[in-house]
Amino acid sequence: MSADVFAKKRRNSLLLLLIVGVATIVSIIITEYNMAKGFTSVPKAVQWALSNFYPTKDSLAKLPDILVKLKETLLISIAATTVAAVLAFIFAVLGSNTTKVNRFFGSISRGIAIIFRNIDVSVWSMVLLFSFGQSSFTGYFALFFGSFGFLTRAFIETIDEVSGSSVEALQATGANYLTVISQSVIPSTIPQMISWVLFMIETNIRNATLVGLLTGSGIGFTFNLYYKSLNYDIASLVVITIIISILCIEFISNYVRRVIL
């Protein structure tokens, strides 16, 4: 009997391994991935980076320009996240099982959120480029739409997890809908929500680089400019400023999380 269980378990694991193996081989074939080249490219890239990819004294002259673009990118990321968070909160309240007004609005708001979060920021930025051109709006809205979808899902989960019981208690006292939201849902979920917002800002700074590359704005554009003109020393300086700013934000958000959670 027990031997059977072990044998079955082993068969299942082998089957799973086989499926993964086949899927890997199929993926290698259709993506034309070259295993050998993959392995050799890592040491090659390290060697290249060590000999070319570091800032020189001359590249430091470009630092002020880079910082201006970096500031722009940081501000766009923060603004997009903050505004998206407010809208996401409204949609999350309507979409959460604990606080939804009725089933119809619940499904609608969850549906909208699913569509928004599953269209990648890269897609949004290419679409918005048509109407907003190379202005800050393009990056702003691309990040805004993506964050809105993601935060709505995160907030719905937070509301359902944290505030179910206290919502019931306030409804039983005869408090009206808005009062229940502001006195029970907001106070019980705000630490988690801020934590999600900080996480989203971090993610958005990384995404902003991508959006900038695609739309020709912000820090992504600056990187691309020097990268394409083979000025690797300045391009590396751009990467370093991005790393520093993301690590700073991560440090701040870790600190805030420790205090508020």
Partner: protein
């Protein structure tokens, strides 16, 4: 029924002396560090947002016109999609290519992250090694994926190799963090019990550590696969990695064909939503199991 009980009665008649005592107590409201932090955080975000809107580079874009144009474009995309420069089967194949990129990245990432995750978990490795690995991983994560891909493209040329390697870097850093944290949740006693019975490190890893955190690992890995699909689309568009993302880039940057972008968006959307539903299912199933 009205008999007085033996314990203190609930008379709420006002007692001046008592009320004054209570008033004094009420006036001693302590400061809470957490609510101050939340308020500061909120105000700072609002302030930075307003400042951002003032300092935006608007480039003489008429906001209302552009917004209307966006809505019009979105209408064209989603309600009148068509495929002109690509055939349906081509698009379908390219979606598979993108899925393939995401899959390879996830598998490579998971295998390497498993090893590093074990070394990064404080309870089964050593503290200094854990700190070094976690620090390196945080540094890798701070660089946007697209930059990793472009950096590798210098050595390997633009294409699937640079894309997979560059994206794998990010997957590794993400999964090492997730894996090592789930390893660290493992009960100390379980490891001790096996150590006491004379098991060596590998035996402990395969008999206690991995079995007890496998559900979390599967859940995190699939979540990363979902993310990697979106990343693979983006890399196709921004770093020449091929797949449906590249078609999207062509439709937008070369053919300027919104309706085609719409059709491609539908392809991506359907796959992404399927992955999300699947991921939610797995998560729910694992929650029941654990």
């Amino acid at each position: 029924m009205q008999a007085e009980g033996p314990i203190k009665t609930f008379s709420l008649q006002t007692d001046k002396f008592l009320d004054n005592q209570l008033r004094e107590r009420l006036s001693k409201k302590p400061f809470s560090k957490s609510s101050i932090a939340i308020r500061t955080c909120g105000l700072l975000l609002i302030f930075l947002t307003i400042y951002a809107f003032i300092s935006f580079d608007y480039k003489d874009v008429n906001f209302i016109d552009a917004l209307l144009l966006t809505l019009d474009n979105l209408g064209k995309m989603f309600f009148e999609p068509h495929l002109k420069h690509f055939s349906f089967s081509h698009a379908l194949f390219q979606v598979l290519v993108t899925l393939g990129l995401a899959f390879l990245t996830t598998i490579f990432g998971a295998i390497i992250a498993l090893l590093l995750g074990l070394l990064a978990a404080e309870n089964i490795s050593s503290k200094p090694l854990s700190v070094v690995i976690k620090g390196t991983v945080a540094l890798i994560r701070a660089v946007p994926t697209v930059l990793w891909v472009l950096i590798f493209a210098v050595a390997a040329g633009l294409g699937s190799v640079a894309a997979v390697i560059g994206m794998t870097f990010h997957s590794i850093s993400y999964l090492v963090k997730a894996y090592s944290e789930s390893f660290e949740e493992l009960d100390k006693g379980a490891i001790e019990a096996l150590q006491a019975s004379g098991a060596n490190w590998w035996q402990i890893v395969f008999q206690a550590v991995i079995p007890s955190s496998i559900t979390y690992m599967v859940s995190w890995t699939f979540l990363r696969f979902e993310i990697n699909f979106a990343v693979a689309v983006a890399m196709g568009a921004a770093a020449g990695a091929g797949g449906i993302g590249f078609d999207m880039f062509m439709a937008s940057g070369f053919y300027f064909d919104l309706r085609e972008i719409g059709a491609i968006t539908y392809f991506i959307l359907i796959v992404a939503i399927c992955l999300e539903i699947f991921a939610t299912r797995i998560k729910k199933k694992l929650k029941v199991l654990s």
